[in-house]
Amino acid sequence: MADPSLLHHDAAARDTDAPIASNGTGPAFASAESSSFAQTSLPLRQAPRRGAPPQIHDVTEKFTRACQALDVGQLIKDEYFTLFESIGAIEIMDAKMDSGFLQPGETLEDDFDLLAPLLPEELIGIMDQLLSYEMAWHTGYPLSQTLFTSVYIDRLLYPEPKTIPQAQFYRGDIPDDKRPGTLLDVLRAYCLALIKGCDYVIAKIMARDYFEEEDFATHTYNRVLFVQVPIDVFLRELDASVEMIEDSDLKIDDELRSAIIARLHFRKSFLCALDPECPLELLSNFWPPVLPHVDKVNDTQHLGRTVPGSFSTKIQRRLASTVPPRPIVEVEFKDALQTLKQLCADCEEATRFKDLPTDPLEYQSFLWTFASRQPAPLTYSRSYLSNILFDPYILNAPVSLPLEDVKSFVFHESPILDPANWALSPPRNPLMPKPPRLQFALLIDEFVERVGQPYLDLWVALGQNRCRLRRMLTHVIIAWDMLQQDAVFVDADLVVHALQLNIAEEVMDSPLLTWVYIKKLWMIEKVIILGFEQDIYLPDEHAGMYYFLSLTAGKRKDALQRCAEHLSERCIQFVQKSRYQDTNDTDKKLAFIDSELQQATGISAFAKALHGFYVIANYLHLLPCPGRPFSTEELRYELRMKPFLTLQPPEVPPFEEFQTALQPYGAYSDPKPSINDDLKQEHSLPWTNIDASLKAAKDAFADVKKRGAKGAKAKGVEQAWNKETQGMLASCVALGVAVAGLKSAVKNTELGRGPQLKVELPTVDKRYVGGWVVPKIVKE
């Protein structure tokens, strides 16, 4: 069904996988400066135009006359009028679409008295309801259905006050006896700080890549959220409110008093944590203090009392006239608090980023792990982390981050990266050839600059919501594929100069190509794994997709193997030359390569075991397999492989090869008879292959585990890393159990008679690791 929410959506933003909002990522983090980084600019929303007053012409009569010439149902549109635009149309005078439509007797505005005195219970009730709506906004609903339904917020913002003192629940002069009392003043301070917090949230989210309305709605309907007013103004208002409430002259129950104070304290601590000006090194100080206040708010929520009429959908009419009236979003207070706590926890976790060692691979582990947190971090938290990552302090590290990444894989104490190379100056005479060592420096600089954008693309993708991450990675892979073609040329030049210097044996074969390829394959693996996590693949596709995953990880394993071999050779060279320090350093690097190698080995082997298992399950008709009258295996294969079809070297095996791997005994519906005997025999190829793969996977993951998070450059996320590694091991064990169950069941039944078995596929929340669907055998 077409998406009803496409009504009034920014169509362009909806249907593309590139972020709609993005700003420059500042200067290159690479050694060379690169202007391209500053230009990831994308179409931006247009600001409403102000200027000459509109002229009004009455076209009613002309229009009516013109309409008579039309048949019923006839459509007038030009070629460029899209579905999305047509979906944006509303019918005037239809109550469900026309927000200006008044039912008979309905009034345009509520007659709620904003200056009517509040009870302390009511103040608490309103504050808590505001907090609930604030959190609903954080989960993606627009302000018009959440906070902006508050009549108090509305009045503070509209008509737009010129100064903060003007931002009152009234405008202009009022008689003294109408002046708001203490509790209304306190509510005002609370609302002001809340509004400022929204401003901060919008600023932070818009500073990074996100998807409007899908991730978050930044729309403020031309209300200005005190953008220009500095934070201390709001903090002072909150402090003054605390004093007013603490004043013993104020006659109010102590329990209520402290509940109100807790809310003001919460608001203050939260606003401080949201402050975008907060310097990087202080960030982590601001989140921990928020939580205790949240707990106090939680404990006293029962004291609050709602105030009917203090929230109203009617305000929407003045916010956006082209959108149908939409209901206020209902959120349970306890869910809202859960959201708030998650927000605080995620942001606090994000602040740990700045303490990571300056190592892009540690960064990558952190980004991946953060994106994998459950429940998924909210848009604000993701932006918060991205803002830290793209902080000049991180990005402009003294070393080139992409080059550090390259070094971890392929250049180890390499003459190519000798700092002395960069100290050489070109010959005076430009016609003279440059010295080879200088050529190294120039080539590396050129490559590092070339890498910059694809490298950033990967990081940007890792900061998106999980669905986008998967799709965006497929774009990033294409970018890295092009990078790989370029790396070939740089590698060739490096060899030429290494030969000139007679140090060819110190340089690995195709180092840059190998590095790019390893990263690219890693991304392909992630796309497949995310596909499983997001339930993209139907059960009868599992065999094929795990097969493809196994192939891909296998190629990465081979590439890593080449890195490891080169490193070992280097070690021997160093020992021969008595360069013991270098030997030691290289050994350390080898530890990382080995960890990666084992990880890739494990993934490839485990995917292969799953592939084997699902193939058998398909033959045994244990998985649902739709009839699919309109499709063929070839067509489905093409669709599945679409993101990877153009990659070089070709990653997608020819269909025949794929089919042979998936249907070793011929069609599932009509297998070769030999399958019967084979499956009944424990030591036949189908079973021994699975057992061998499973054993290889277990050994590899056990080895990875032994080497630990540090070895894998995931020290910064050690806990999560341990959990996942443990999860992979547990998955291996679980698959072993399933295989044994299937084996023994098949032994005792005739094939085709269908062993009384069921294969259960756990839903994502029941898996050890989200992307690994380990089946369970259930006897009926």
């Binding site: 069904m1 077409a2 009803p4 929410s5 009504l7 362009a12 593309t16 996988d17 590139a18 972020p19 391209s36 600019s41 179409p43 019923v72 149902g73 006839q74 459509l75 549109k77 579905l83 149309a89 019918e91 239809d94 679409m97 989960t139 899908e214 991730d215 939409r326 050129e446 070339r450 954008q453 999980r466 669905c467 799709r471 774009h475 990033v476 294409i478 970018a479 594929d481 092009m482 073609q485 997001q534 339930d535 993209i536 693949y537 739709p626 009839g627 699919r628 009258p629 309109f630 499709s631 067509l635 489905r636 093409e638 669709l639 599945r640 492989m641 679409k642 993101p643 079809l645 153009t646």
Partner: protein
Amino acid sequence: MGDDTDAKEKDGDALQYVQYDGSKEETYLPAIRQLISKDLSEPYSIYVYRYFLYQWGDLCYMALDSANELIGVVVCKLEPHRSGPFRGYIAMLAVRESHRGKGIATKLVCMAIDAMAARDADEIVLETEVTNTASLKLYERLGFLRSKRLHRYYLNGNAAFRLILYMKEGTALKRPPGMETAPAGQMMGGPPKMEEYRGFAQDVGVGEQAFVT
């Protein structure tokens, strides 16, 4: 709908499956709108219906009972997608609640697919809520695969799957006219050069379909 009580009687009725015809808008459009909007949180304006029915009325099929009452409907469009393929899109599908589970929607969708195939469609796509079991089952049985998950796609905050059915070989690599030679992701043509590549941000406007499953 108010007629669930006599649904039983009508069960015996053979349904008629008919193609929509623009000249009968006044007879059918109100019923179509009513049937479709039952499952929407917000109604579509009449313009949306006309957008489809005026341009692709022949890709709209209706199931009618013997009293000529509308029981089910499917609404589609078919046009070149900017990424290249000639793409069919199933925009709306609904069957009256009292008549569900009898293969009526399946039949309507099959007719629509056949019509689009006859008009040379490369692929057919649609979106459906990840929790809409009936719809997923129906389409997946016919051969559709899930190609992506769309985060918070619906107004209620729910996610959707995009489903795709390829009708022809070579659809994945189809490019818009004039760009046939360009590999995916590199719409400029010609061999990639270092200076040219500026990241995917520049591909905005070309559309994701060129690059993404």
